[in-house]
Amino acid sequence: MIRKWEDLQEIRKRGERKIRPNKIKITVGTATCGLATGSAEVLKAAREAVEQTGLDAIVAQAGCIGYCQMEPIIDVWIPGFPRIFYSQMTSTKVRQIVEALKKGEHKPEWALGKIISETNIIDESVFNYTSEKVPLEIAKIHHLNDVPFYKKQFKIVLRNCGFINPEDIEEYIGAGGYQTLFKVLTEKHKPQELIETVKKSGLRGRGGGGFPAGRKWETVAKAPGDIKYVICNADEGDPGAYMDRSVLEGDPHSVLEGMILGAYAIGSHHGYIYVRHEYPQAVKKFTKAIEQARELGILGKNIFGSGFEFDMKINRGGGAFVCGESTALMASIEGEVGEPRPKYIHTAESGLWNRPTNLNNVETWANIAPIIARGADWFASIGTESSKGTKVFSLVGKVNNTGLLEVPMGITLREILYELGEGIPEHHRFKAVQTGGPSGGCLIVDTFGWKHREYLGDTAPPAVSYVTESLIDLPVDFDTLTEAGSMMGSGGMIIMDDTSCMVDIGRYFLNFLKEESCGKCTPCREGIRNMLAILNRISAGEGKMEDIDRLVEIAQVLQDASLCALGGSAPNPVLSTIRYFRSEYEEHILHKRCPAGVCKALIHYSIDPLKCTGCTVCVKACPENCITGKKQKPHKIDDARCIKCGSCQEVCKFNAVVIQ
């Protein structure tokens, strides 16, 4: 039980020693992305190697440091040395590292980067890793911050991810955690002060809507009633975004501390976290975090002896996208079908069990403790005029570096894509970036769409004036993305290149939303179905020119008449692709051609005889046995029997399989 400041400091010291012990520590990243690339084997191999070699070292686990593409990532801490990160580990490599360490050697050739000092975001304390002369081979390893992917990052939300053991509360406290909460509760800060700080900081909800968090808190605090709830929305449904999972798996206490602070500010004693059931690791880690916090008296009655009472409960979702919508989420916690309620009654006044309820998402909550600790002005000094602080983006799709990155708001798409992401894989052209999940849209960030129209001999001016302008230098914040026809959403950024068909993307999202529409209101239920039918027709080569106008017309009805944001924003992906890639729709309709080579009904696979070496790999891969040809002679695909599965293209090493 923590009662006094000294109690907390004692645990902090213990935690610091666990984070940076007085012997070698090998930390393996074992969040979901690590596990999917085999970090469980790496962890096992590291443990075995340490035992076999008799190296005096600790093998530990942590969350993800964001560069998921480079997983499995491990880091090696040696007292007095920089912290060295190694990427793309295998059991063999990790064994060799342990053997090298035993001999006092290193493996700089496998290093991703090193860190020589760390600044704590909560109390600004600095820790310098290097205290004595390090060997030249280590001095030569470049700094992690010089790796393109990390260059412009600034971590508030992901401050501890990958650095601490998420299953040990002492390490969170060791990194400065729960100090803010302790001060607020024991020094009897006024709840209103906290609300003012959050308001002044300019923090906007990170779940998609971007509603000012402080204003929401204030409404709930002022709402009449003794029982109020706080909820953490961890039903991260937007496909392509996974920052919430990463925070819950890598640093669950940061969310918990934010929620307790929020509960204190608005006068709530009961909290809920609603986690998707697709995230089993996150559920496991957060459950453990709650238990450990209870043991130390950070949850429950009389927290830190201050008299404040608050407890939490985890609810696992049932697998319904619409439950990310606040009212549907609340219905789901109540054990009901997750259908949204009309919005004329605000959840801030009548939410869960008809009580005032404050709901924020994982990333928003993780921002709270640093804001309270460092003050509103500090937070407001980061970001743009209307969007303060940082945002975590998941940069995924057809881009060279994929992973989670946290950058100040206002950074341009160019910086994210070409500097941090290091551009598009070779031989391909950048086409669009999709943001905001199924409610967002596709943004074109060069003039490809317009040039393509010229190429088609279409001289009419583009429908929207700034299509010809380059959007690549668009500063990314809540408002600029909305103006450009998409939205920030929860921060997924899916990069698409010339092999992604925009009609198919529109179709994909509508298909997704058709499944996920709860069916309560007609515009959403029927509108999506009809739009999808039209798109299916277009991608089958049976579209008519008037279909494009029809799509826009139905979209209008959905936007105007749907009950909740799911329906209201459902047409966005289609509207934005029509807005920026109309020519691609026209190409499907007029010329029965899919320029990206995706829509099955409009494509044919063939083998380029000049490139084919006759290696027979595709012959073996073809499930229909419809590729023929002798060894070392160009092969042929029997078009009549081809099921267009693309297996041959996946296995061909000579790019000889072409789509027409």
């Binding site: 992305c33 999917a36 449904g237 496909p239 979702g317 049932g318 109540e334 054990g335 799709g397 899916i494």
Partner: protein, 152 residues
Amino acid sequence: MIHEKVAAIVDKYEADKESLIMMLQDIQDIYHYLPEEALRYIAERMDIPLTQLYAVATFYKAFSLTPEGEHTIHVCCGTACHVKGADRIVDRLERELHVKEGGTTLDKRYTLKTVRCVGACSLAPIVMVDDEAHGRLNQDKAAKLVRPKKPA
């Protein structure tokens, strides 16, 4: 038999309606579907109309009213996986297992499902076999996940 197990689950959550979805998930985990008997028991014990339970059981994707396979294959169809060929993987697994998406193999070993996003997008395309994620797949690698392992 069913009653005892279900009763234990309901007790674990103290028959709290707020935990209804989690109770159903635990039942689904044990039986690979929601047996009618279990739903009737919960309806009576917690005084919830059976129609309401039926609504919940059919609304959420996590539940099934017909028996599913021993292992569930979830092909991630999130946006990142989609642009990296998740559809091809679904097609391939459908052919490999001789079932359509949502179906269960005759030997009741596998149920093939798609999922919106498992949140490991940088390793797209992804397939989850039960709780285990497999990343950076192509059609061949995905097919190998469901083929019987060769004896060593």
